[in-house]
Structure formats: C-alpha cells, structure tokens
C-alpha cells in the first residue's frame, strides 16, 4: 500500500498515524478530498510538506460542512491563523478530532473552543445565546433565547461567576454519553 502512491513518504504516513486517529488509507483519502477543493493549488506531491493554505470560503463548500451552523467556528478553531484558512495539517486535525475513535475528553475540549464565540476561554452568556441562536435559527424570539441562555448558565455554572469554564463544561457533558456520537462527522 505504501509504495504505490507518491503523495507521502512512508515516514510521513507513520507520523500521521501516530498523531491522528486515521490509518494511512484514510489519510490518502483525506488528501484526495483536500485536493478536490482546489486541484490547481494543492499539489499531488506532499513529500516536501508544501505550505498550502485554502481559504475558508472554499472549505465551506464541502458537503459535510455546508449546512452545519457552526461551520465557521469549527474552521476558526482548527486553523492556525484563527481566520478559518486551513493547511492540510489543520484539515486532517479537524476530521481526526471529529472522527469516531477520538476520545471524549479531546472532543469536549474542542467543543468548548468551538462554542466560545468571543474566544476569551470561557463560555459567557453571550456565547451561550449565540449557540442557541445557531441551533434554532429564527424560530425563537430574542427574549426566549436569552431566557434559555440564563437557564443553561444556572444549570451548568457551578462556581456561580456567570460564565462556564472548561471544568464546568466537562462536568456537564460527561453526563451525556451520546455526545461522542453526535459530535462526529463521517468523512
């Protein structure tokens, strides 16, 4: 399997296998998907680790992400520059964390980062409101959203400071065993 393709060297594939939850076949498939987004820009040969970044507007067009209400936040969380422009490493990292075999702890950390819209390291009331807004679209009125956000804050905020830290979030999510199966994108 390893000597038929020329995209990656064997040691590169080993690296990917050690650092992500994918096998070498899946890595190659991911590379194919990455390349399909912009065949003129992304080279076929990745043995020299070329520094190619795709803009977020292009990655949004993927069918797995197109309709996801959190797609921009996901891209921003995994991108190096924070703007949503992904290199191939970021791309693989994204789908690795969102894969089936990633452990719950890792998913919780990244989910926390995704839901943190103002990127202050905490989920404050505005973050929760924005989450509810993205989830329900325009179905709920502004006051209703605020009410939901306040109730969420009261339920989950254990130290009573008005915002959720990672520990509060972890404590809450660890009671939902289905989080692993819902926070998962098949690629």
């Amino acid at each position: 399997m390893g000597n038929k393709q020329s995209t990656f060297r064997d040691d590169q594939l080993d690296e990917y296998q050690d650092c992500t939850f994918f096998t070498s076949k899946e890595i190659l498939r991911l590379h194919g998907r990455f390349r399909d987004l912009a065949p003129n820009v992304v080279p076929l040969d990745y043995t020299n680790n070329p520094d190619v970044t795709l803009p977020s507007s292009l990655i949004i067009t993927m069918p797995e992400l197109k309709e996801n209400p959190f797609r921009y936040r996901i891209l921003e969380t995994f991108s190096e520059d924070g703007e949503g422009n992904l290199t191939f490493y970021d791309f693989v990292d994204l789908f690795s964390v969102l894969s089936e075999t990633a452990p719950l702890d890792l998913k919780i950390i990244y989910a926390f980062r995704i839901y943190d819209f103002n990127r202050d390291g905490f989920l404050c009331l505005e973050d929760v409101e924005e989450t509810v807004h993205r989830l329900t679209g325009e179905e709920l009125r502004v006051e209703e959203r605020r009410l939901v956000a306040r109730r969420v804050m009261e339920e989950a905020d254990l130290d009573g400071d008005g915002k959720l830290s990672l520990i509060d979030f972890q404590n809450m999510i660890s009671r939902a065993p289905d989080f692993i199966s819902t926070f998962h994108i098949r690629i």
Binding site: E15, D18, C19, T23, K25, P63, K66, E67, N68, P69, F78, E80, Y89, D90, D93, S96, L98, P103, D105, L106, I109, Y115, V128, V132, L135, T136, G137, E139, L140, E143, E144, L147, V148, R150, R151, V152, E154, E155, A156, L158, G160, G162, S165, L166, I167, F169, N171, M172, R175, A176, P177, D178, F179, I180, S181, T182, F183, H184, I185, R186
Partner: protein, 739 residues
C-alpha cells in the same frame, strides 16, 4: 401547546425581571445571613425541583458587579480558571489566559511544559505514547514536533544504554505487536462495507437510524465468520466426495426453493447429505480407514468452534458498548445538555438540518415550560384511570401472545397428523406454518403499537422500552414453542412421523422459516411502508412522513439471526443464506427509508439502545440457540438412516469414538484424549462455569463500585462549590469591612 408556552414564557420573563431587581438589592452580604445548613446543597437541582414562583429568595448567586479588585484578583488566579487540559495527559499544565498570540497553542512558558510532557511520554511504552500523543489537544504541527523530539530522545536513550540487546527485545516485540495490531485494524477499516451509503443515511436521518444499519453490518460480519469456519471444513470435503444418494431423479420445480424439499432434500444444504460412506465399513464401526476425512469430528468441531468464536465476539462487543455508555442516567429536562450536545454533526442535507432545528426549538420550549410550571401532579382519579388503562393494555397483550402461542402449538400438532395423508398433494402445505408464524410476528406488533398509542405514555423512552419488552416476549414465546415442537415432538418421533431423517426435516423447517421471514420483510417494506406513508399523508393529512421504527426493525433482525443460529446444526449452509438475505435487506431498507420515512423526532439515545440490542442478541438469542444445539447434540438420538452420526446414540459420542481410535492408532497423542476426557467431565464443566460466573460477578461489582464513587464525587463537587461561594463572599465582606 404553542399558545400556552408563549404565555408562560411571558409570565416567566416578568418574574425574571422582578428577580433581577431583587438580586441587586441582595448583594453578596445576604449570603452571610442565610443559614447554610438549611439551604439545599444541590444548587442545580433545586432550581428544577422547586417551583420558581414560590421560592425565589433561596436562589444564591454571586453577582460580579460589587466585587472588589482584590477579590477579582484572587478569583482569576484560582487553578480552576487556568487549567487547560486536565486528565487528558494525566497532568495539568497551567495556561496563561488571554495573552496567547497564536490561536491554537500557548507560546508562553512552553519550554518547561514541553519538558514535562516529554518526561511523561518517556515513562510510558510505545503504544501508550502513541495513544497519549493522539489525545493531546495540540495542533498537528506541534504534535509532529513533540513526536520528533521524543523519538530523538528515545533513540538517544536506547543507544546509550550498555545492555542494549536486552532492552531492545521488548521494544522490538512491542513495535512488532503494535504493527500487527495496526495491520489488523487497517484491514478491518479497508473492508469498510457500505461506507458511502451509511454516510448518506446518517446525513439525512441522524445517528439513531444509522445504528440500525450498523447493527445489520455487524450481523453480516458474524455470519461471514461463521461461514468461513464451516464452509472449508465441512462443506468442501463433502463436495469433493459426493455421497451415494437416492438414485431416482426428482424433477426440479421452482417451488423447491421455497419449501426446501424435493431436490434440495438430499443436497449440501441439509444434514442428511453429510456422511462418511467412504470410511465406514459395516461391522467394523470403530476402525477408521487411515487417511479418510473424519466428517463426524469435523461436524462437531466446526460448529462448536464457530459458535465459540461468535460467543467471544458478542461478549467483547457487549463489554465494549457497556464501557462507553454512561451509567448515570440524565435527569429529564436538562436544558444545558440539550443545548450543547443535541446537534447531530453528521446531518448534512439542508431540509433535515432545518427539521432538526425545529425539533430542538420545540424541545427547548417544552423544557422551559416544564421547568417553570413543573410537571403537573396528577390527581388521584387520573392516576387510577391511568393504572387501569395500563393494566388492561398489558392484559390484552399477554392474552394475544398466549392465544397465538396456543394456536401455533395446536396447528403444528394437527399438521403432524395430517401430513401422512397429505403427502401426495405436494409440499406446499409445509409452508402454512411458517406463513402463520410470520404473519403473527408482523401483525401483532401493529396491535401493540395501537395499544401504546391508546395508552399515550409521557416519556418517549418509556414507550420504546415497553414496546421492546412486548415484542421480545412475543418473539421469544414463538421461538420457544417452535423449538419445543421440533426437538421434543419430531425428534422423539412422538407423532409417528415417517420422516426417516428428522434432522433434515428440522433443517428444512428452519430454512422455510428464514425464507418466509425474508419474504414478509420484503413485502412489508415494499407495500406496507409505502401504503402507510401514503395513508398518513393523504388521508390523515399529516405534514410529515412517518417515523422509522428503529426498535422494531432491530428486533426483526435479531429474530432472523436466532433462526440462523438454531439452524446451523441441521443446515450448515444457513449462515451463507443469512448473508445473502442481510445483503439484500440492506439495500431494500435503505431504498424504502429514502422514499417513505423521516428521522426520529425525539432524540434517540444511540449508545444506550445499541447496548440494549447487543445484549438482547447475546443473552436470549445466542444463548437460547446454543442451549438448543447443545441439547440436540447431547440428548437426542440422531436418525439411523441419514447423516454422519447414524450409528451413534448421541452426537457427542463421536468424540469418544475418535478418542478411542486415537488411543489405538497414535499413543503419542494421548494428551489430546486426556483433554477430551476432561471436557466431558461434568465436574470440570461446573468448575469452568463457576469461574466464568465469578469473573462476571466481579466485573459487575467493580462497575457498581465505580458508579458509587462517581456519585459521591459528584456530591463532593457540589459541596465544594458551596464552600467556594461561602469563602468568596466572606472574602468580599471582609474586604468591604476594611474599606
């Protein structure tokens, strides 16, 4: 419903505003005045339990508006505010907030952190390192650097040790083993059957419906492995040495495929064809000609090993799913969990995304409503009526099941009496019993559905569980009465059957049942589902398509698989038939799903349900089938005129025979016969069973203990929260006193 929700929300909004004003007045000093012993420790719980209208004053919050700078300094330097990844790498590393220039990782203080990380990694083995590296929340680039540094250091360490040969071997072995494991894993991953199709299904219908198709794929795997064991050792040797069957030519009509009689009777499909005429000399029953294939032993061993392997795989998957599902059940109406974990990231079609949005919105509104007004307490009269209704429904269900079972039992006996007279009329009468049973299996669940609709359960999950229990009970009783009929009546020849080969007859029965079940599923899917969806849309005028009933379909799969396992002794090619059936069923169900259904409206707890279904597959289904097969092999006398065991009084005796012949021919292999004697010893089997049960008991107790510890720790967290609030407010008041 919508109107009442809106009005309640308005009321709540008014209350909210009044409370806010109260909050400003009662600043943190009020905490001091409250008696902490009387305040409920369960901060989250009391908001849900207590009615918000009655006791708003008990709510204790810390408002940040009046905190002094000193308090805020103390708060911001608390470890809980600065811990980034706890428990992930089994150590916590402090993180400096809000000055990180890079989006992903921290730049400050990285060098001591990196050293700490490397030290931890080096203390572990290769496989554990890889696992730990994967679960670090760093970007891929940083992980590569860590890995490069780490392997560099490790390489340096290994070359520097003097006794390098001794330290090399375990690491070499570790590398080979992990490589082998990777190889097996990649092989399993590469055979990703139906990957694209499953993605499409999950994209449109979500995780719940996906779990049905994954279950189907798992069953396919089990049958495949079973076939791989039986075909090379049982079927192929028989193919190479065809037995001298009946010489009269039987014409082939198409009906034989359905009934399994006629041409198929004396074929590879059924038990009767398998024999060892080559090695058998009349009169010299114990002496085997050397070099002939001992088909008796092969029969017992392949079926035994096949079932054993299936058992191991089932128990492994039961334990795996038990491990992932959380033992703590979520109390209903947990709003925060709903907000953060209800979005299914797999759904990708716009229409279904909108539907999911609407569902979540409705749930949130309903939850808010329940939280504000509480669950209405039922009056005594309503409760009584509810109880009576439930008892009636259960009584109707049990009566239905009992009547069906009795009917099937009587019919099967009557059929035996008629069969002798009706043989000349062709073989189609054999199809009546399977037809009846399949009809019962498909129609009675509709009755149960109607009863459940009449009962109108409050909780969605409770309805699912009750439906599963009722249908399971029905199917188990059906299979029970059929097994009794086959093994007791037919095998013992109680009804004077002139079937010379009862095993082939039972095999044919199971073959017919399997095929009839498949035909019914096909017809039900094509006509039933289509007609029902047209009915709901045109006549009942519902806006949405009907919902795919996951539980019922999974139970049907389990029923079919039980039939296949029961039949493997009498018809070795039955698992292969089951593979073909599952394959066709997948495409059929998927097509029907796309055309007629929508995803489940209420959230489907996929993990919990998968555990339940795998457990049902393991315990009643597989265990029952194995028990029947063991009973057949042990107690029942094989028929005298057909099959490989024709001269013995029990199938297990073939093993004894082989042991004796082994002693004569190869004394060197005496240890094999010793092992066999041990296995046949009752006391040894009891001891093994006892040890097995002990291990299971220990695991259950350990799991139970862990659950208790978790609950205690949760309680401790809540107590610590109260302590913290107390201390902070104390700090604040002290500071204010000094100002």
């Amino acid at each position: 419903m919508a109107c009442s929700v809106d009005s309640t929300l308005d009321i709540c909004q008014a209350e909210q505003d009044s409370e806010c004003s109260m909050e400003d007045e009662n600043d943190t000093s009020s905490c001091m005045d409250n008696d902490f012993e009387t305040v409920e420790m369960d901060f989250v719980g009391h908001l849900i339990k207590h009615n918000w209208v009655d006791e708003p004053a008990e709510k204790i919050t810390l408002t940040r508006k009046r905190w002094s700078a000193a308090t805020q300094r103390v708060l911001s330097s608390m470890p809980s505010r600065s811990v980034e990844w706890t428990g992930v790498a089994a150590h916590s590393s402090p993180r400096v907030q809000s000055q990180a220039s890079s989006n992903r990782d921290i730049d400050k203080d990285r060098v001591p952190q990196r050293k700490h990380l490397l030290a931890t990694l080096q203390a572990r083995s290769v496989a554990e390192c890889a696992r730990m590296l994967r679960s670090l929340p760093l970007s891929l680039k940083k992980k590569r650097e860590v890995r490069a540094q780490f392997s560099c250091e490790r390489g340096r360490q290994e070359t520097s040790t003097k006794d390098s040969t001794r330290s090399h071997f375990p690491s070499w072995l570790g590398k080979r083993l992990s490589g082998a494991q990777q190889g097996v894993q990649s092989l399993l991953n590469s055979v990703q059957l139906w990957h694209e199709a499953l993605k499409q299904v999950s994209g449109r219908f979500g995780t719940g419906v996906l779990s049905y198709f994954l279950f189907l794929r798992t069953l396919l795997l089990y049958n495949f492995i079973l076939s791989m064991i039986t075909i090379p050792f049982l079927v192929l040797p028989q193919v190479t040495r065809p037995s001298h069957g009946s010489s009269n030519k039987i014409s082939f009509t198409g009906l034989e495929i359905l009934t399994g009689t006629g041409v198929l009777t004396n074929s590879l499909m059924f038990y009767g064809y398998y024999n060892y005429t080559d090695g058998w000399r009349p009169g010299k029953t114990e002496a085997y000609i050397k070099g002939t294939y001992n088909i008796r032993l092969a029969y017992i061993l392949t079926i035994g090993i096949g079932l054993f392997v299936t058992c191991i795989m089932l128990i492994y998957s039961v334990f795996k799913t038990l491990g992932t599902s959380s033992p703590m059940s979520v109390s209903h109406g947990n709003l925060a969990l709903k907000v953060f974990s209800s979005w299914d990231f797999k759904i990708s079609k716009k229409v279904y995304v909108q539907q999911l949005s609407e569902n979540i919105c409705t749930h949130l509104k309903v939850m808010l409503c329940e939280l504000h007004s509480g669950i209405p307490k039922r009056r005594l009269m309503t409760r009584l009526i509810w109880l009576v209704l439930h008892c009636t429904a259960w009584a109707i269900c049990l009566t239905c099941i009992f009547c069906c079972v009795l009917g099937i039992y009587r019919f099967s006996h009557d059929r035996k009496q008629f069969s002798m007279n009706l043989i000349s009329e062709g073989d189609t009468h054999w199809l009546i019993l399977p037809l009846l049973v399949c009809g019962v299996n498909h129609l009675i669940p509709c009755v149960f559905n109607m009863l459940a609709w009449m009962e109108s359960y409050d909780s969605f999950n409770l309805r699912i569980y009750i439906a599963i229990i009722r249908n399971l009970f029905l199917k188990v009783s059906m299979l029970g009465v059929l097994c009794y009929h086959w093994l007791d009546s037919i095998a013992a020849g109680k009804y004077g059957t002139n079937n010379e080969c009862w095993e082939t007859f039972v095999g044919q029965e199971l073959y017919r049942f399997l095929l009839m079940d498949f035909l019914f599923s096909v017809l039900d899917t094509i006509f039933g589902n289509f007609l029902w969806s047209v009915f709901t849309r045109k006549i009942l005028r519902r806006k949405r398509k009907p919902v795919f009933d996951i539980a019922l379909n999974v139970l049907e799969l389990i029923y079919g698989q039980t039939l296949a396992w029961l039949g493997i002794l009498f018809s070795p090619l039955l698992p292969t038939l089951q593979i073909v059936k599952l394959f066709l069923l997948f495409y059929l169900k998927r097509a029907s799903l796309m055309m007629n259904y929508q995803g489940p409206l209420k959230p489907w707890r996929a993990t919990q349900m998968t555990t339940i279904f795998i457990s049902i597959l393991c315990f009643p289904s597989f265990l029952g089938a194995t028990a029947c097969i063991t009973y057949t092999m042990w107690r029942l006398k094989p028929s005298a005129t057909c099959g490989p065991f024709r001269t013995l009084s029990s199938m297990f005796l073939a093993g004894k025979e082989w042991r004796k012949s082994l002693e004569i021919s190869n004394p060197g292999l005496a240890w094999v016969s010793w092992i066999y004697m041990l296995l046949g010893n009752h006391i040894f089997l009891f001891i093994v069973a006892g040890i097995f049960l002990l291990v299971i008991y220990i695991h259950i107790q350990v799991g139970d203990g862990q659950r208790r510890v978790t609950t205690l720790l949760q309680k401790q967290i809540e107590n610590e929260v109260e302590d913290k609030k107390f201390l902070i407010s104390k700090l604040q008041t002290l500071h204010e006193q000094h100002e």
